[in-house]
């Protein structure tokens, strides 16, 4: 028995199977994690190597370059980017999208093992680190405090971090910006010299005294006891009474030569939130955890935790990714609901029957909910890609059901009983709905095989739509006939209610008029076929010209996520106090001028050396990084892009700032923020590349639509160098390293022991008191003891000179690089790039230096390349499906001609709405290939049928056109209206999907109108050629026959 027959004959089984499917789908839906994007494996691996004491250029030659040469042969490597700083080489290996990062990591690890032979002595082993999207903080909280500032670290660690860490799914919670406690032993050098004690000796004494030692077990009588020696200081002030040496028979106490302060570390990254000193708490999730659930749990716990805190500590949420995710998901959900209603209205409008409408609409929830099973089984998440696939599919899933139901109705009208009508009606159209579903699959399935970033973004979309559409096919072939057989009545048994009467009185005549008018139009088009084709060709050419002239392109539309990031620099080397004051001034200005900003948080200062995370980012005493959180997009008039631009204008009024960068979207430039352009200048010579970069920066600043033009190379920074004279060192029995170490201990401090209190450890740092390390003389006066115990001053061993050096050297693909980077504001990428290219052409560039444009452009070109291949594959596959269905090469060609019109319609509507062609709009074009051919298939299929039934070409076309107009309009309108909520979406995150919606609505509308006229005209041209050819053949045959007969006659005459 056939599928549909079984379904009709076994209604209980059929309906229960689908109810089960929906139930399982719903259960999975509630278990699915929610996220913004599908799990994108980051394709970056970093290699970090420390080379303590080496300058940036030394690091570049000795560490970075050899490692780059070694790693360059790694498979699938796309770019190799390196940063050589003082004492640190950071190499980022960027792999092609879709590379298995774990395999790549192993590859890199193998290569690094070989490196140890040729790397210099004294470097640490290279560290490998994989970047992943999970490292992105889920939430950032800030804790502000007044009087509790100094104790904040411990309070937060105990009261907030530990409880939050216990929330399931939370990876780590880290505190930054809170001052950490430290015991400082500030030594007065003169006193040390007087007592002839070295600083190292003090540190050693502290380390030797501040210990607990277990002395073993011993027995007394019947018991065994443990013996312990407790030497650790119980309180920090006890350090004062340590005896550090003897002088003339009297003990020297530590308080005699130094002051012991129990305080906080001085050089740290400071955080300010809304003008108050704060600490930030960064919450990261475990791989695969549900960001939204974590954020909710954190927000739920905060009020409770707040109660236990001292009253002056306030916890606020600065960034919350879940907020953006939740609102984006909600606005997509609304779009889906709206689409459902609109599609229902369209179906009801055309069918005019409640029962039929309900049968068709049942397809939608079942196929959509069924797809959640796929998401769950493959470990995916609910995200904007998977949800928008639902939104895209919603208008298409009803198509198969409409065709089936339409044919069943025809059978009913002929007099069949519902059951038979359902079975045989489905059987007749089963092949054609399979074929038209395959054209959709032919477009969406290749999407899952696309490479590059586009492939990662659209893989899930491809699978989702394929699965939903196949599911809708299955439903159309089982559930729809089953429901029809029970819910539809034979025409003669039908009851007539008020709605039916109203429908027959008002809507039906309208539709009949429409059919009639269209028949006239088709009649004209089929008879004046060349004229029609000519007019349409002219429209096509006109459309192409308009599109070429107005086409704007960009990479990914930017979304308003309520966040703005800023990096502001004062001149290099500015003291942190001055930067802090400036930072507070800016924050005050922002607070007064922009009521939209809810939270202003900024950090300033140099991060701790042992802060791994911070060493990868920029931080310095002169640098301020801001995070601004704004009110929700719906609640304010200006977008983050407009506000960011306004802020730029304000910042340009402050001459004391060296440079600044304002990033709407907050730093995630490549993912969702605005577009940017990089001009990469490759060349070894630092001076020449600097000159070109400065030149280009000046020119780029004048280009319309470019903002924040910055040069990535850091400025030369002033520094002091101690140049030891090796002879003098040797004469005094010193080596370079002991001398350097001695200076470091006095300036930076020596940590040899920890002070313990309540289970926590705090560093004990011994160094010169601050007032003895503030001038060049102080450094020259440092006394270094040689092994014989004789003190020598630095000034006797060498000279202290002022010099300047580059703090960081950037390289890309094994060449030194300077990048001039600019953000794009309200201008299409292609226009900006054109202007930049002009600017580059007018710049004098020596032959050994090359200049490239990258950034968003590079990504756009790669993605557009991938998508173009996808487009070609889709067109070919769709053609193959159609050709095998029609068993003809001509008709599919006629149908595929509607695709270019669809493109023109898309591009025109994009131009009208002012949306540039981004990868989202491009993927819309690809989808159109599969969607728009459906109209043509329905039309041509029926015209062919009419001809097989013996009608003449023109009659077949007119009759076919009239009878197929409603199904074509119905399926086209459901697709168009299903997409309209995406296209006009105003909710948060809708910016991303609007281009896709607009492109499909424009393309589908335009191509439907054109198809309805062009296909009949073209059919009449090709069809009449076929007839002419047949007639010609027939005539030749007749002539041959008559000739043959004549010849035969004459031959026979001759024989007679």
């Amino acid at each position: 028995m056939k599928l549909y027959e079984t379904a009709v004959k076994k209604p209980v089984g059929t309906s229960l199977i689908f109810i089960g499917l929906v139930l399982i789908g719903l259960i999975f839906y509630f278990q699915l994690p929610v996220d913004l994007l599908p799990d994108i494996e980051m394709n970056v691996v970093s290699v970090m190597t420390f080379y303590p004491g080496a300058g940036a250029e030394d690091v570049e030659t000795n560490v970075t370059r050899p490692l780059e040469d070694l790693l360059n042969t790694t498979e699938n490597l796309k770019h190799i980017i390196s940063r050589s700083k003082d004492g640190l080489s950071l190499i980022l290996l960027e792999f092609e999208y879709g590379t298995n990062t774990d395999n790549a990591m192993n590859d890199v690890r193998d290569k690094l093992e070989m490196s140890s032979q040729f790397l210099p002595e004294g470097i640490t082993d290279p560290m490998l680190l994989k970047f992943s999207a999970d490292m992105m903080p889920v939430m950032t909280l800030s804790a502000t405090a007044d009087v509790s500032t100094e104790a904040m670290y411990k309070i937060l660690d105990d009261q907030i971090v530990n409880p939050l860490n216990r929330i399931p799914g939370v990876g780590t919670v880290s505190i930054s910006g809170a001052p950490q406690r430290e015991i400082q032993v500030n030594v007065t050098p003169q006193k040390l010299e007087a007592y002839r004690i070295s600083l190292e000796q003090i540190a050693q004494v502290i380390a030797a005294e501040n210990v607990n030692v277990p002395a073993g077990n011993f027995d007394i009588g019947t018991q065994t006891y443990m013996l312990r020696l407790e030497g650790e200081m119980a309180e920090s002030r006890d350090f004062n009474s340590l005896i550090v040496g003897n002088h003339q028979g009297k003990p020297i106490y530590l308080r005699d030569v130094a002051t012991v302060i129990d305080t906080v570390k001085t050089r740290i990254l400071e955080n300010y939130t809304n003008g108050r000193r704060s600490a930030s708490l960064v919450v990261q999730k475990q791989t695969g955890a549900n960001s939204v659930a974590i954020a909710e749990a954190v927000k739920e716990q905060l009020p409770g935790l707040q109660k236990n805190l001292p009253p002056d500590i306030q916890i606020e949420v600065v960034t919350d990714t879940s907020d953006h995710i939740q609102t984006s998901i909600n606005s997509l959900m609304q779009a889906i609901l709206l689409a459902l209603i609109v599609v229902g209205a369209v179906v009801l409008f055309f069918l005019g029957r409640w029962r039929a409408t309900i049968i068709i609409l049942t397809t939608i929830p079942i196929s959509l909910i069924g797809s959640f099973i796929y998401l769950y089984v493959t470990g995916n998440t609910i995200n904007i890609i998977s949800l928008s696939s639902l939104s895209i599919a919603i208008g298409m899933v009803v198509d198969d059901a409409i065709v089936v139901l339409e044919n069943i109705t025809t059978h009913l009208e002929r007099g069949s009983r519902p059951r038979q009508a359902a079975i045989y009606g489905t059987e007749e159209v089963s092949l054609s709905i399979i074929a038209s579903t395959l054209t959709i699959v032919a477009v969406f399935l290749p999407m899952t095989l696309t490479t590059g970033l586009a492939g990662i973004l659209f893989e899930q979309l491809g699978w989702m739509v394929t699965i939903i559409i196949l599911l809708s096919l299955l439903i159309a072939m089982t559930l729809t006939p089953m429901m029809s057989s029970y819910m539809l009545r034979a025409t003669k048994d039908m009851n007539v209610n008020k709605f039916d009467l109203w429908y027959r009185r008002t809507i039906l005549p309208m539709l009949d008029n429409l059919d009639h008018g269209y028949a006239k139009l088709v009649n004209w088009a089929a008879r004046k076929r060349w004229q029609t084709t000519g007019i349409i060709a002219a429209i096509f050419v006109g459309g192409v010209i308009i599109c070429v002239l107005t086409l704007k392109t960009e990479f990914i539309p930017s979304a308003d996520n309520n966040q703005i990031g800023m990096t502001i620099e004062m001149p290099t080397g500015t003291r942190v106090e001055i930067a802090r004051a400036q930072g507070l001034k800016i924050q005050k200005m922002l607070r007064e001028k922009y009521p939209e900003i809810e939270i202003i948080s900024f950090s300033v200062g140099q991060a701790d050396e042992d802060n791994l995370f911070a060493s990868m980012r920029d931080n310095a005493t002169h640098l301020m990084s801001y995070t601004l959180r704004l009110t929700k997009a719906a609640e304010r008039k200006r977008s983050i892009f407009e506000i960011a631009d306004e802020i730029r204008r304000d910042l340009s009024q402050m001459p004391e700032l060296y440079r600044y960068e304002v990033q709407p979207g907050g730093g995630m430039a490549s993912a969702m923020g605005g577009s940017y352009v990089d001009v990469d200048i490759f060349g070894h010579n630092l001076a020449t590349t600097d000159r070109i970069a400065a030149d280009l920066q000046a020119k780029l600043s004048e280009i319309k639509g470019l903002r924040d033009v910055t040069i990535t190379r850091k400025d030369y920074r002033t520094e002091y160098q101690v140049n030891f004279d090796r002879e003098k060192l040797a004469l005094n029995g010193l080596t370079m390293s002991t001398a350097a170490g001695a200076i470091r201990n006095r300036i930076n401090g020596l940590v040899m022991s920890q002070y313990r209190e309540e289970g926590d450890e705090y560093d004990i740092r011994v160094r010169f008191d601050e007032k003895y390390r503030q001038s060049l003389e102080d450094i020259e006066n440092i006394l270094i003891y040689n092994p014989m115990g004789v003190g020598v001053r630095v000034r006797d061993l060498g000279t202290v000179i002022e010099s300047s050096s580059l703090p960081q050297i950037d390289r890309r693909d094994r060449q030194r690089i300077v990048t001039v980077r600019a953000n794009i504001y309200r201008r299409a990428l292609n226009e900006v790039v054109e202007d930049i290219q002009k600017a580059i052409n007018t710049t004098q560039i020596p032959p050994e230096i090359s200049v490239d444009i990258s950034g968003s452009l590079e990504q756009q070109q790669e993605s557009f390349g991938d998508l173009t291949i996808l487009l070609i594959v889709a067109v070919l596959l769709v053609y193959i499906v159609m050709a095998s269905q029609f068993e003809s090469l001509t008709y599919p060609f006629v149908i595929i001609l509607s695709v270019p019109f669809a493109f023109i319609g898309s591009l025109l509507l994009l131009t009208i709405t002012g949306i540039p062609l981004s990868i989202m709009a491009f993927i819309g074009l690809v989808m159109l290939v599969g969607i728009v051919v459906k109209n043509g298939i329905v039309l041509i299929d029926y015209i062919n049928l009419n001809r097989e039934r013996g009608m003449s070409i023109i009659k077949a076309i007119v009759d076919g056109g009239r009878s197929r107009l409603r199904p074509v309009l119905m399926t086209a309108l459901t697709t168009i209206f299903g997409m309209v909520p995406l296209a006009i979406g105003t909710g948060q995150g809708s910016e991303i999907w609007r281009p896709l919606g607009v492109s499909i609505v424009g393309g589908m509308t335009f191509s439907t109108v054109v198809t309805l006229v062009l296909v009949p005209a073209l059919y009449s041209i090709f069809g009449s050629y076929g007839v002419v050819r047949k007639r010609k053949k027939h005539r030749e045959k007749l002539i041959d026959q008559t000739n043959g007969n004549n010849n035969g006659k004459s031959a026979s005459n001759a024989t007679i």
Binding site: G415, A421, Y424
Partner: protein, 97 residues
């Protein structure tokens, strides 16, 4: 004994077979899918793209007095939905085993 050959659109098949026993007819032979065209009216039943509908054939041999009710039933059925098409032909059975 008479032989009755019923050729109808397959939509009628279940209805006819279901009613045979009601008309006291037990034996029959059927062909679920047969193709053909009526002599005067009706659409061809070819099972092709152009003419997708298909006929069924039911062959039954009945006592002479059963023929009239059967034909009456079939005539009513045909009148119900003329577009589907239903024809029955009756001829004599000369001998049987």
């Amino acid at each position: 004994m008479k032989a009755v050959m019923i050729i109808s659109d397959q939509a009628h098949y279940d209805e006819i077979v279901g009613n045979l026993s009601r008309l006291n007819i037990r034996g029959f032979t059927s062909w679920r899918e047969v193709l053909g065209r009526g002599s005067k009216t009706g659409e061809p039943h070819y099972g092709t793209h152009a003419w997708p509908s298909i006929n069924s054939a039911i062959f039954t041999v009945v006592e002479d007095n059963r023929v009239a009710p059967l034909l009456k039933f079939l005539k009513n059925l045909d009148a119900e939905a003329e577009n589907l098409g239903l024809r029955a032909f009756v001829w004599n059975i000369e001998d049987m085993i």
